[in-house]
Symmetry: none
DNA sequence: CTGGACTGTTTAATATTCTCAACATCATGA
DNA sequence: TCATGATGTTGAGAATATTAAACAGTCCAG
């Protein structure tokens, strides 16, 4: 996310074919403010930005989500999977060398006691997976459960989460996240 | 979206177990500001809110997207996976009851001889997966390979493709496709 | 060319956010 | 009991967002 609110707003406004004054009127603010915002000479308060976007109309979430900017190998023998594991968690990424992917698919192996760490993980997007072997303790947004072979999960990755192999055996998971985290 | 920024921020902060001061320090703002924001006594400027969220860290888009009330199901015991299998291919969908997903994650089990059909599959998006057990013959865009446990694949789903269990044992795959096909 | 209606920009005054420091409260422990 | 360190809150002032009004440019009709 660019946080170039100015250019962003300008693009949105022009997408709707509105002038600064026209948008200002609909939004209940002054044209000057819109000019200043578009030049990044001020950082609008959330309430003002909301007023402005209401004039379009567009939700705040959509405004910040909007991305203005946005063959290859098919088969990946296990030897060719990019090994991006760290410590006691082995991560094998499917399609690591692909230029643009819309997902990360991972083959994860947690050694006994392996842990993604006390500091909870958070990032944009969604992720899910299936436990293939072993048992894993998964905490998501305050809730904690133990999942065994065949069990699965799916959540928005913005929720703080943590994986921990609490068993005595290896735990194997195949997971996917979109947009790609690796 | 409630635009109850205050309660929203407070919830996020507490989800991470941070005090106002602690978050303030990470964010480079004062604890007082966070207090005022959480009480909705000010409407933070976007730049301040960004600073605060950077301390968590969380993207603005995620902050506004986050729906605190309707936290959907996260854990899916295998019995609760939607069974959408047809014929000799058992498909278990992760998160089938979720309103909006950006992916389909499937736990697939191919019986010996199982086949997605002579008519090649094609659809929008991308898909990939990891073979967990057994062997499968995968054809994509004219190329054909046999994948065993630990092998993987990733391709654009517009390429005609077909899965076939050519072995004498079951074959187990965990796959994902975005956008969701189920 | 002249006036009017549009465009976006700028300035000075006003309103709001934000900081700094002090305050009140609660818990822990000497 | 008193001290200590944590919590969130508050008030006055500094910093910044926002307004209102004037400015400059473009385009088109008269």
């Amino acid at each position: 996310m660019s946080l170039d609110i100015g250019a962003h707003l300008k693009a949105v406004r022009q997408m709707y074919g509105l002038s600064q004054r026209e948008l200002a009127k609909r939004a209940g603010v002054t044209n000057g403010l819109i000019s200043l915002i578009e030049q990044n000479r001020v950082s609008p308060s959330v309430s003002s930005l909301k007023k402005v976007l209401d004039g379009v109309p567009m939700a705040l979430a959509d405004f910040f989500t909007l991305d203005l900017e946005r063959q290859s190998q098919v088969f990946f023998p296990k030897e060719e999977l990019s090994n991006i594991g760290a410590g006691s968690v082995a991560l094998r990424l499917v399609g690591g060398n692909l230029a643009k992917r819309s997902m990360s698919i991972l083959h994860e192996i947690y050694a006994p006691g392996a842990d993604t760490g006390e500091e909870m993980l958070t990032h944009a997007g969604e992720e899910g997976g299936v436990v293939v072997r072993g048992r894993v303790e998964l905490s998501v947004g305050g809730e904690t459960r133990i999942l065994g072979a065949g069990d699965a999960y799916y959540f928005r990755s913005t929720l703080p989460h943590r994986f921990r192999n609490v068993g005595r055996e290896e735990c194997e998971i195949v997971s996917a996240s979109a947009p790609p985290t690796f």
